[in-house]
Each structure stands twice: as C-alpha cells, then as structure tokens.
Symmetry: C3
Subunit: 679 residues, 3 copies
C-alpha cells in the first residue's frame, strides 16, 4: 500500500487554492466532499509564492490549506514546488535559465524551465525541499511527496557542457576510449582534449530534434540529460528522506515521454506515478500499453494515476469532450492495469493562462450541477465502495514485451535506412496483437529477469547491450520463446555496429543471417507468404517499411517474401535452441498477421486469454490478490456488449451482487468482478 | 471631401521617379495625363535619399518632382519617407534595429524595420516630418500627408521591454494588480518587481507566433506594440499638424492585418486609407467585408483606396493577371463601399529588387500600348466623368457586424478548445450571408453606438470588455436584434474567464447557459435540426468546429443538435428581452443555414436587400448623398447577367443615359445608376 | 587520359583504414583484389589525425597505407583532408567556424564546416596541402589529388562580410555603381559607405533560403560565396602544383548542387569529378542529364565518377537497395556519358556515426559472400576487360542545352510571378525530350561556343548576360536553330529588368513581344492548339505554370492558346533570322508536346537518334574514339528488351563476340558494342 493512512483507491487531484480568493475555499471543500475526493495535490507550482525573494520563505497559505482540507477528511499529496523557478531567481541568477536546442539563452517563462546543471537551481530546490520536509514531516495529512512536476526538456548551456565533459570522463576514463566509442575518426572528429567536446544541438552536430552527425555523441547527451534531471530529482529525494524517511516519494512521469529513461528513474521512485492524457483518437490499446509500461518500470508494483482530465484537455489541436462514461471507463482501465489511485488535473479550473480550458472537477460555472461533476461524484462513490479490495493486487502475465529508451534513442537517431521507422509503433503492433485477444502482458525493460515469462518479445531490438544476448540465449535454452524483428542486434550500447553479420549478437539464437536491409517507400508493400498453415495463419499477408534479406542458419522458414527480387527468401523464421525457440520477423507485417502469429505462439505455450469470446471493443484485464482475481470488463464501444465470464460465482464489487454466465455492459460500461482464481 | 482642391475621385498612386534617370520623367507625365491620373503619392521610401547622413537634408529632387507634376495638373499625396530607415542610421544607431520574435537582433534590411521604441527612430522620424511639413506647407500641389507606410511588425528589444514595463505600470498601477490580471500564480509566475517582467516571444512565453503560456501577457504585449507603433505615427502627425493644421493626415492600413488595433488607430487618422490586395481566389464577399471594415473604422466616413495593383502582384505564391475588366470592377467595388479615391501601387514598374514583378500603370515595356494601360486610361476617363457625384456619399446600413482586434488576439492566443477556430472566417460567414442577398452591412467596433442599427451580429464575441454587455442589453431592450455565437462571453479584457457559467456577462440577455464546449475534429460534423419551419429554413443543416452544450434559461429553442450524446440539446435559440430579441448560435453552421437565418432575421426587422432578384455573382451596393442613391451593379461572373433595378428612372453616371427596368451587365461589367432615394 | 599510370577505367573508391584496427587491413587488400579494385581514395577526412595540434603533423598511417596498397597494385587518389577542420582548431581559432543563415555562430561539428574566409582555415589548409604534396610528390602510387571534399555551404560571419565588401569594391568600383546595380533607391536602401553593407541572411534581407528583398544583393552574395569557396580550393591547388605540376588535381562536385557555379569552378579543375547519388525514384534521364552537365563543365572532356554507392544510401528518407544489376547499369550509364572512372563511396562500411548505413563494397558482415560484393567484383572484371578502349572517347552531340547557375539563382530568388517555377525541372523537360529518343545532347554553359551545335536550347533564359544576345544572333544568322521559353530575356546580370519589352535583348532574334506573364495555379491548365500539323504534332496539348501573352513581330505562329482571355494569342512561334530560326515556347508544355517539337526541330536539322526503334526504358549512348563508336545499350526496365543495332559488324567489348542485327538485353542489362563510325 502506498500509504496505509488511506487504505483505498485514492481519489482527488491537483488543487491550486492560491489562484483564488479565500471566499471560495469552503465551497471547494463542500464540493470535494460531494465528489468523494480524499486527496489533493498541493503546492505544485508555488515556488514564487513560497519564496518571494532569496531570503524569505512563507508557507502560511500552505499550512492553512493542508489543515483546512485535513479537517474535512482530505489528505495531501505534497509537491515541492520546484517545477518552475521564480521570476526573481531568473533575473538574479541567469544560470537557472536554459539554453535551447537552437543555442539560444532563454529568458524567464514557461515551466520546467530550469537548467538541470544550474548550481542555483540545485541549491534552492534542495533548500525548499528540505524546508517543506522539515515543516510537514509530522503532519497527519501528508500521504506522499510529489517532487517537482513532469520533469523534461534538455538544456545546452555552458554548465551543461562542463557537466557533460565530466560525465564523459567518468564514463570513458580516457579520451582515446571516447574517440573509439564515438568512432570520431569518421569526418575527422578526433578529440585530443576533453574541452574540445561541445554539446550536440543545432549549432554543432544535430538538427530537427533527432537528426545527428554522430549517433554516439547524441546518445550520450540523452543519457547525460536524463541523468542530470534525475540528479535534480534525487537531490530533493535525499533531502525529503532526511526528515521523512517513511513517507513515499514520487514524481509524475509521462508514459512514453521520449527524453527520459524512466527505467533508470524508477529505481529512485518509491512508487511510480504518471499522467495519462490520451487524445480522442488514441487507440485504447495504446493507453493500456502505457499503463503496463508504467507498471513495468518497477517490475509490476502498483502505480499512481497522478493526473488525468475529468473532461477536456486544452493543448490538443482538437480537444474533444470525454463522452459520458468515458472518464469512468478510462479510470478503471488504469486501475485494471495496476493503478491504486485515480487523480485528476485539476480539481478547480483556473480562470487565466494557458490551462484555463483544461477540464476540472469543478468547472468555471462553479457549481455541482454539471455532467462532469456528476460523473466525478459517481466515480467517487464507487471508489469508496471498492475500498481496499483492489489495492496491491498484481497483474499476472506470462508474456513480456521489451521496451528500452536507449534503444529508442538510437533508432530515432539513426541516419537510414528509413525515416518511416517508429520504434514505439512497432512495439505497439505486437502489444496490440496480445491486447486484442486479452492476453495479459508486461512491458519490461532490458534489465528485467526474463525467467518470469514464457514468451519474451523484443521488437526492433536494434541496440544490444552487454550481457543481453547471453540472457536471451539462457532464456531460450531453458525453454522460453523469444521473438525479435528486422533491424535488431545491429549495434552495441554506443551505436557501433556489431560486425560479422546482422543480427549481431542475436544471430546465434535466431539461426539466421540478415545480409541486406531493404527500405520501402510508404506506398510499397511486400507479401508474407506462409510456407504452410500455422495455427490460424495461411496464405499471404502484407508487410512493408523494412525488409531484411535473410538466410537461415539452422532456423526453420515459416514464411517467405512474395515479391521483388528477394521473393522466396525467408521473412519469418523460427529457430529451435535448447528447449526453447527464437522467432525472427524480418519485416513489419499487417496487424492481421501479428494477431495470428502471437495467437499461435501463445497457444503453443498454453498462454490463454483472460477470458474467451470477448467482443471486440471490450477490454478484459485482471488483477490478482490473496488468491482472488479481480476481473475488469470494460466496453470501449458505443454499443452495449455481452461478455461471457463462465460459471464460477463472482461478486460484482461495485454493487455486491453475485454474477456468472454472461455480463451485459452498456456503451462505455464497466463491470468489476471478484472471484476465486481458477486453476 | 478629403481635400476640396481636387473635387472628384482621386486617381493615381505611388510614384518613384527617384529610381529612374531624369530622361524618363517627362514621358511619365505624358502617360499620366493619357491615363487621367491626377494624384501621385511621392516620397514613400526616400529617407536615405532625403537625408544622406545625420546632418544633411536634401529635398531638391522632391521639390522638382512636385513642381513638375503640379504644372501638369497632378497633385501630390506626400509621404514622410519613414517607412524604412537609412542604412547609415542602422550602422550608427543600432537601437533603430528590431529584435525579432526569435530573439535575434536584426541587421539593416527590408522595410518597416524600425523599432517603434527606438529613441533614434522617434527623434529622426519626427525631425524629417517637421522639415517636410515646413517646406511644403504652402505648396498648392499637396493634398494630404501619408505618414510612413503600412505600419506593422513587432519588436522585442530592451527598449521595448523597458517601454512595456512603463506601459504596464500605467495600466495596472501596482504589481499586485498586474499579477491578478495575468493570473500569475498559475505556474508560479508571481512578479515582485517590475523589472522581472520580460517580453513574450520565443525566448520566454510564446512560440509559433500565436501560442503562449500566458494569454494575459501576450495580449498586453500586442496592445503595447500596437500602441507603440501608433505613437510613432502620432509623433509625426503632431509635427505635421504644427505646420499644416488644415491638411488631412493618414497612413495606409491593411484591412484585416492582425497586429494593429485599427479601431484605436483610426481615432488619430483624419481619413482612413488602405491597401487592397486580394488574391486570385479571395472571395469577393471577403474584399467587400474588408472595405466595409475600413469604412467602419471611422463610423462610415468615406475612405481612400490608397493602393491596389493595376494588374499583377508579386508576393503571392501564384500571381495571376487581373482578367480584363477586373481592375475596373474591383476599383468600383471599393468606391461602392465608401472609397473616394482609386489609387495604385504603382505608377511605373521598378526594374530592380523584390517588387519588380508587381504590376504598374506603366509596365516595363514603357509605352501606352498595353492592355493594362488601356484599362487604366479608360477608368481614368470614367472617374473624370463621375466628377464629384459620389464624393462624401454614405452607405446606409441597418445591420452591424462587430469585429474587434483585441477579441481576435485573445481568440488566436487561446490554448484550446480548437486550433480550427478562425475568428475572421467566422465573422465572414455571417457577413457573407448578408452580402449574398445584397443587404447593406456595416462592420463596426465594440465602441460603436449600437443604436444606429436594427440588427447587431457579434460572432465569437469571446472577450466582453467592461460596459459592453450593458450596451447589448440596452440595445435589445430597446427593440434591437442581437446575435452571437458559441465561444462568446467567455473572458474579460484580460482574458480571465467570467465564472458563473458561459456566456458570462451575455448570459442574461441570451437566456441560455453553455455548460460544455465540444471540439470537433475537421472530419466530424453535427446537425442543426430545425424544431419547425423558420422562414426558408426547415429540416436539418450541418455544423461543426465547436459545439456548445447549452441549456435554455428562458430562450426559445429554434433548433437542436442531431447527433452525438448531446443530440436534442439546443443549438440555436432566441430570447425575448425587452422589446428585442437575442439569438445564440451554438456551433459553426454551413453557409446555407446562415443565409436562411439572416434572411429570417432581416425580414423580421423589415430590412430589405438593396435590390431583389439579383443573380448570384452580381454584387449590388449603394451610397446615398443629398437624397439620391447611387447604385453600383457589379458582375463578378464570367458570364453576362441581367439585373432588375425597378421602374423608377435612374441616370447611368458613366454615360449619362437614362435607365430603368433591367440592366444588362457584361462579364466583369459595372453599371452605376443614380436616382432619387425610394421610400 | 587522366593519368597514364593506370590506362583503364579506374575502379575503386573512398577508403578509411584509419577507422579500423590494423588487423583488418590485409583482409581489405585481399578483398579489393578479389573485386578488381585498383584505386583507393585516401585521407578525405583525416585532418585531425594528420595534425593532432597546431605544431605537429604525423602522416605515418598514410605512408603505410599508400605503400601497402601500392604493393598490391592499388593506386591512390590522394585527398588533402581539409573537408573538416580539427576540433582543436575550432576551439583555439573560432574564426574557422561559420555563422549560419540564421545568424548563429556555429560550434564544432559536422563537416564542410569551415568559413571560407577564415584566415585560420586558409592558412592551415594551404599548409597541409603543401606538406602532403611535398611528401608524396614522388610516390608512384599517387594518381591524382582530391582537394577537400564536396565543397558547399555558405557563411555569414564578419570575415565574410568584410570580404564581401572588398569583393564588391572590386566589382563595382564606386558605391554609386553598386547602388545602381542593386537599385537601392527602392525601399530607401541607398548606401553611402561600403561598411553600411551587411550580408544578406535571415537577419537582414533574406528568409526561407531563397526569398530576398534585394535580388541584386543576394545574387552577388551567391557569386561571392561560390568564389570564396573556389578561392579555398585554388589556394590548395596552387600549393599542390608547386610540388607536383604534372599530377592532375580535382575536387568532387555534386551535379546540380545549387550553391556553387561549377562552370566557374571547372576552369580550375584539371579534370571534373563528381558524386552521383540518385534516389530510387530519380528519373534515369535526370541522372543522364547530370552526367552530361558534368561533362559539359569542361566542354566535353571525360570526367571522373568519384563516388556512387555500391548498394544503399543512408540519408534519403527511404534508402532502397539498388536492385540486382542496377549498380552495374548506373556505372555504365556514367561511362557511356563520359566517365573514365567508376568509384564508390565507400570500400568498407564504417561502424559508427551517420554514414554507417551507407553501402560499401565490403559490408558490415566483412566477407565477400554477399550480393553486393559479387556484383562489384563482376564489374571489376568487366572493367579490366574493357581496358583502355573507352578512355578519352568523346560524346558527339549536335544539340546543346544551356544551363547556367547564375540564371538559376536569379530565377529562384525572384519574387513572382510563380513559386512553382523550377528552373532545373524546366531544363530537364527539354533534355528528356531529346533523351527519350536517344539524341545525343550536350549540357553547356553560357560561355560555350555555340558554333559547335546545330541546335541550341535555352529554357527559361531569364538572365541575359552581356554579349549573350549577340552570340545567339550570330549563331542563328549562321543557320543555327535556337529555342527559348517564357520568362527569358527579362533581366541583366544584376537582375535589373531590360526595359522596352520582354524578352529584352532576345526580342529581336525571336521576333516576338511578351506583353504580360500570367501565372497559373497548380490546378490550372491552358492548351497549346496547333495551327497546323508540324511533324508528329497536331491538335492540342496542355500547358501551365506561366503563360506569356505574346505578340508576333515577324515570327510565325505555330500554335495558339486554347483557353482564357488570351485564347488565340500565340503560344509557340518560330522566327526566321538570317539563315537560321529562333523558337519561342511561351508556356510550360506537357512532355508529349516537347517530344514532338524537338523531334521536328532535330529532323529539320538532320539530327538523328543514335539508334532508331529503341524500346522505351532502353537508353542508348555513344562515345567516339579513333574513328570508332562505342555504343552503350542500357536497359533500365524490369523486363528484357530487344534493340536493333543495324547490320554493320560490331564487337561486344565485354565478351569479345561479334554482334549485329538485334541485341537482347535482360532486365537492367547492358551491352557495349564497338564498331566503325558510320557515315
């Protein structure tokens, strides 16, 4: 349990009473109670208020707010307010201001605006975290620390350049090793002194965000920046822990946010929390995958849904309303996949600046007679009803999909073979094939213990870090099924190609050699022609994007290309290796092929869907606790649906009724069943 | 009359003899006379020529030019030459150079390039204006002053930053009030000292031109910049008036140019003038609307068409020729809507730099045997024929459409609900519905006296400034018909939301509450389903973009949504209020619906088209003077058209013939009739 | 012969052993020999390696490499390594770093990164070129010097600004002449001192790369930059020649690369060399045209194919594999059009940085058992077989197409009439009409002797430099056929319009006057209606883009416009002038019209295709030497094709067989025949 002071699914969100006059505060409390809200996230952006100048700190407003809420049964998720530095600090100490990708020194503005290597920022963020911890360490209302907010963005200033050089010295030891790791003899880039190295941005090696002359430099800068921001977090973390060693500490992550290596970050979070902002047209399988990734950051430990909107967003191009029931549906989707909190940005809508059209529990009209408030209040009631039944329950999965931020950086930085290659999309195609048939899946990092899984899938495993290939070989030898794809096994952790034939270190376990990699234009397709029927797969399917021209070296050919000069060459192979097998998919197939392939692979390992015969548009997910399974049936469709759940008796956790057989779900409806885990 | 020295429609344009050798000047005069040209705009970009260095002024060339033209019956519209500073000034006093939106100090180049808060620019522009006024104050050729040229562009330099802070101090008095107006507690932006405030551009709060973190800051910067440029104009204005209190002063505006609040500017112009550059595919109703706006800047006072091209433009992507007759057609469109001048850029085509492919009365070939020259000369003859018959005539309109620059800025800066919302396009849809049936319409500012109108339409009246709602209520109470739309009444003049329910201060008069605002993707549509037949409206129509989810609070529901979860909720309502009524259109409808709705509303108020049964593609407009109406029949189509004008006798002002019954217009043809105003 | 040490088509490419450990070098040599490789380009990017600091030079690695290769029969194309400066130099002497188009001082990074007016760069590039020349002047392996690499990119730093002013003083003598040439009275730009002039980039007169306020300034800056880079080349050239007067010197050009005036450069190259990187979807006629242009740079002298990829590129969006046979096909296309070398980038694929996915003879797998290596080795064998049979053979052409970089700059900088006008595409349309029927064509500069041709085509000859019109008149008077198009004869060398009627100086020879230029939107078309049958042309064809409205002044009207208000005006004319004729095509026609028109024109001059009845997709090209013609039959299609070559006996140079009658070519196949030139 995140904090057993509040042994239920926490319900609440960001609350900014400091933006309002005092006369509204009691009304806030009245409405929070109506809505069943029991947690408020405070102090996210109040640094300038808390510290009006270098010498002065003033937390009176915060004292009062925490107390007022607590008196009314509402706990506090307490932020450290360091997500945006005060204007006076920017004026007095310009080192807190970033230099941007275009090489420009920024001025005061925005948020998430502090240089992570700014001595000033590090000094004062540490100080205020310490002051907050000291002040509120014994306050009964405080449930958890929320450090800063949505860390992100890179800086390219001289302090960062100096920090980068130091980091490089620690990583490489000698300039010779760095030259080798970056292959600097290419284009005459040999460095002789550390201070010849400059940061990679539009003024030096990069352009257009992800284009670079030197993948090695750019990759290391991403590592360094992710780490620099993490250091800022850790400085506050340590300071908080000095005073409140038992209070959990988190910071809110952002799903597949590209700039930070969250697997590395998660090591220093007591609990993962994240902000879920799908667009109107985000596939719900993609949101599910993101929840699973956030759960996977700490190997399955439940996480916090720290933010979602009750209704509308403001920063999408077209900010659709969440349709009736959808906020509830998406809240339970989070819970079903591991969330032990349901929290909003924001509790009351602000009236000025850029987020005033972002939805809130309390809308601009200010009263409770709105659709949005009613839906929030209904959910609040349900979460009370659920009490602690779901808390700490685990998701059981026998399939793991590997996702790795460093691999993503390397793929995105690659010059060639195709700008069309999107790592996350390729991962999602495999995820969707499992999701579509309701097979529980974990999203895991490259450091995860593979032995926990029967099947491990590593789409576009372009970068193979030290030890990873051995781990895969051991996994397969022991009977595991491994699958990887085109453009895998190509480079090491420095983006240096493993010579001797693709897929490099994975070649042995896969039993194939990829001689060439063809890149298809968006309007070009090839075919996957099945050699024979395989489960539900037969005949031919389409593929595109990249086509490895492979030769078997022991692997069995499952399908061949149907077109072009490499028609008849293998496109899908499987290699027996020890007790297990290793699959290679040499191109990017249609979803129909992947659906069939993963069905075959799961069937072969006896991995069953959570439920069978579930209508399309209905998502089924399961958490398990104390020998019981909690089944979440979620209808994403606009039509009612019927889900057969089998004959074993189950309790509907939201109304206490007994259920079995077929469950009817209205459009956007959710049912949560609890029953004994079946054999 | 702008200046009764020349009591006819002025005909001429920009003339740059200084770009040519002396041997061509007499030829110019010969051809001007052939073309009936009687006004030349001189000295627009001659600062560097007039003032070769800081100490020296030399107007000899200008003396000679004005005299030579005057001797030949050609008057002068005299510019002050401050539209571009000299190169020596940029070198010597870099404060004249702007800092751009990207934060970069510019170097010498382009035009409209001076920082409006540059002490150097203000000093020397004032000086040269004074010298010109003193020198030419008694010259009989000078008709009017033309200050600078097409003011525009913003600057973000330190002088502007300092000026901004002073302007803010004057506006807000205390930093606390500013913090409140900008809602700076959002994202911890609280300012404690004025000099913590930085200008909003890509280095601080803005990006992509119109995206901002703080609408309040960005809105105020637009006000400040519009005002800074206006101050530059006013400095010259005052200087000119010192010497020539009776000569009118103007500067050429640019229609819907977004950066300047022309309603504010117009207060300081003796006569409005503007430059009309429609593209090949600009709807002619849009051009008409722009003329009406320019007329509306000074509450209906006739204006100057200062620039148009005789033939081609050069800066469009594809610069089509004006088809035969089109230059004449568009010239009369201006006159029909209030212009008392027809002037060109330019009289002779330059041979070098970026405008050499912009058309001119005298083309590069240099002689009069061109289609373009012939058309210019024919028009010149007609304008002589028209003499003073049209001068000072007024447009009579009973419908006013409100357009407001500050509202536009706020709408464009808004983060959410939809990037698809274009304020000007929404205004144009309503304008077009009236234009399509030839109902005379005024484009008016928010400060206009509404009592002049029977119907006032305020599309997307997002920002409601102090007093405006009261004015609307009084107008409706008195029997007026008011119409506004979705996304209206949302914020005050600082872009702070009016709490208590949309449409805020307009809620009472409209008798509705907008609970939510749905944003539709470009491919999404909803339906407007009529509750019953209303005039010509029946059945259902399409709508999109934004859909307010409204509840009536006394208003009658005219139509409901046909789709989505809010099907059946009101989409069009009308509220009886006092003696009048207030309409609300909760989404952006198809043109067909608006055509029908405005027909109904006008019919109900007895507002008739200028003429009935006019073929599509024919525009009819009317000016009224001394009890007579002057009817302009303008065929924008490629086919001839017949227009029934009724049986009262009329004089064709271009040929003196008497006309009644049906008038035949050739393709692109124009007929101008004068007759007694009918009851 | 480029260098008679190696009297055959040189075969090899860029080789970077310094990127590898020593243990691979012998393996490289073994594989080069397998592939028939006899030339390696060394030292292209090794400056940082050769000169680890300001005082030290170390060429040991280069000594060894040249020797090792030479011992194995492989010659060296020796680069000077100045294509990228060392990091230490950038740190110590920031003047080597460029200021970019956005006005930003760059930091160390990339390649082709040196300011061409940097004193440091000029000093040290000269020094190292001298050291290399001195060291290797007597080495028997060195065939040719390769100065720097792919010169390109502009700089806008203060050194360049100072250099520009000096260059301008030399060009114009007085500031008055400069003001006149740039037409600076436009927009008040008059300069009084040289140092008021600033370089044209985004901070001053330009934006978006090719948009400018002052074409004259921008045009001169392109001239100056092209010349500045050329000066850098020439400094090295002179230094090399001091020590090795007899060794040829080149630098690798890039076809239609826009930034440098290669006709000017070619004067200082002993032999032209270039890098051929067509995309998957580049028309093969475009590649042919580029080869012909590279040959035309030195009036037909054979050139070097310095770089092409054996297989894949890496920097295209989608990097397709070269299909089997295509590398050979495209290699022979180069040879057929004048190349005496076939060289690759690169011999061994690098493993790090941005070109690691660029193909190579030796792929990452490292052995010879790859498709790519096999194809390279087969071609190597064939080139040995060809020996010196093709060397120095000339292409005989009676048609010349004029292409001019300065004209291109002026067209691209033009503001109006249409952004759709692409000079190179218009040139290619005319080239393709000749290519499609296998008529040999030279691509020539404006300084070329026109007397060498029967037909000269100058599409979009917008800029007419001094003397050019006279040359055209003389050419036509003497019986030549000249053709030009819309938007020709408009400006002089300073982009100042020639007044008195378009097409200016060409008006007399063409016998027409273009009164107006209409610009069509991309979806607009007009028709070319033939007045009567002309060869294969009859009926009507489509045209678009720009439409000159022309009047004949003696010319015969061949076709008229079919649409719009200028229907019936001439669109294609021909003017008898002396013994010849001059054609004018007033719009941009469909390819079908041009195919027919050029067939007619060639037929009239007795210019025959190299072969008749050649299937589409088959390219035929001819080189001539010592009374013999060498015919290259090249099948670009995916299907086999049969080419009738006539009955005169010919030798197949690749297998020694005798051939006549019909030759069968497989898909992507090539046959090379040698036979006596026929009358």
């Amino acid at each position: 349990m995140i904090n057993d002071k509040l042994p239920k699914i926490w319900y609440g969100g960001d609350y900014n009473p400091e933006q309002w006059e005092a006369d509204i505060w009691d009304e806030d409390v009245r409405m929070f109670k109506l809505a069943g809200i029991d947690v408020a996230t405070l102090n996210v952006f109040s640094w300038a208020l808390n510290q009006p100048n270098e010498e002065t700190y003033d937390f009176a407003w915060l004292d009062e707010t925490i107390d007022r809420l607590h008196k009314n049964g509402i706990y506090t998720c307490l932020a450290t307010s360091t997500g945006a530095h005060p204007a006076w600090m920017a004026k007095k100490y310009p080192d807190v201001l970033r230099v941007d990708y275009q090489g420009r020194k920024r001025k005061f503005g925005g948020r998430h605006n502090s240089c992570p290597n700014s001595p000033t920022y590090r000094k004062y963020s540490k100080l205020i975290a310490g002051k907050l911890a000291e002040r509120y360490k014994d306050h009964p209302a405080v449930l958890i620390w929320h450090v800063s907010n949505e860390y992100g963005g890179y800086c390219y200033c001289d302090n960062c350049a100096a920090g980068f050089r130091t980091w490089l010295q620690q990583r490489y030891g000698t300039i010779e090793k760095l030259n080798k790791a970056w292959n600097t003899r290419f284009w005459g880039h040999t460095f002789y002194e550390w201070d010849e190295i400059v940061v990679p941005n539009e003024l030096s090696e990069e352009w257009a965000g992800n284009r670079t002359n030197f993948q090695g430099i750019s990759l290391d800068y991403r590592r360094f920046m992710s780490n620099s921001l993490l250091e800022c977090y850790r400085i506050e973390y340590e300071e908080l822990k000095k005073h409140t060693p038992d209070l959990p500490v988190t910071t809110n992550l952002m799903g597949f946010y590209p700039e930070l290596d969250y697997f590395e970050w998660a090591k220093y979070l007591d609990v993962v929390s994240w902000d879920n902002y799908p667009s109107f047209n985000t596939p719900f399988s993609f949101t599910a995958m993101t929840h699973d990734l956030m759960r996977g950051l700490k190997s399955g430990q439940p996480f916090m849904l720290m933010e979602q909107t009750p209704s509308q967003q403001n920063w999408q191009p077209y900010n659709s309303l969440k349709r009736p029931g959808v906020m509830r549906l998406w809240s339970y989707q989070a819970v079903a996949r591991g969330a032990d909190t349901v929290m909003f940005f924001q509790l009351r809508r602000s009236i000025g600046a850029c987020e005033k059209y972002h939805g809130a529990v309390i809308e601009h009209v200010g009263h409770e007679h709105t659709r949005v408030f009613r839906e929030c209040a209904e959910l609040g009631g349900e979460l009370k009803q659920l009490s602690d039944s779901v808390l700490d329950a685990r998701v059981d999965a026998k399939v793991g999909i590997i996702y790795d931020w460093e691999n993503r950086w390397a793929v995105e930085l690659s010059s060639g073979p195709s700008v069309g290659l999107n790592y996350v999309d390729e991962v999602h195609k495999y995820y969707a094939a499992l999701f579509n048939r309701n097979v529980q899946t974990d999203m895991i990092g490259v450091e995860e213990d593979l032995g926990r899984y029967d099947v491990v899938i590593a789409p576009v495993m372009y970068m193979v870090k030290p030890g990873f290939a051995d781990k895969v070989e051991a996994f397969v030898k022991d009977g595991g099924t491994f699958l990887t794809t085109f453009f895998s096994g190509i480079v090491n952790e420095n983006d240096l190609v493993t010579t001797g034939g693709y897929p490099g270190e994975l070649r042995k376990v896969l039993g194939i050699w990829a001689e060439e990699i063809d890149s298809l234009f968006p309007d070009q397709r090839n075919q996957i022609v099945m050699k024979s029927k395989l489960g539900s797969l037969e005949g031919s399917y389409e593929c595109g994007l990249l086509c490895d021209l492979i030769h078997t070296e022991g692997a069995e050919v499952i399908a061949e290309y149907g077109d072009d000069f490499y028609a008849g060459m293998p496109v899908v192979t499987v290699n027996k290796f020890g007790k297990g097998e290793a699959w290679y998919v040499a191109s990017s197939p249609d979803q129909a092929f992947l659906d069939g392939l993963l069905k075959h692979i799961c069937d072969a390992k006896g991995i069953r869907p959570t439920l069978d015969n579930v209508p399309e548009q209905v998502e089924v997910a399961r958490r398990v606790k104390d020998g019981k399974e909690i089944l979440f049936l979620m209808n994403h469709g606009k039509q009612p649906a019927v889900v057969p759940v089998g004959d074993s008796p189950a309790v509907n956790l939201l109304d206490g009724t007994e259920q079995h057989g077929s469950i009817e779900l209205p459009a956007h409806g959710v049912t949560i069943l609890q029953r004994t885990v079946q054999a």
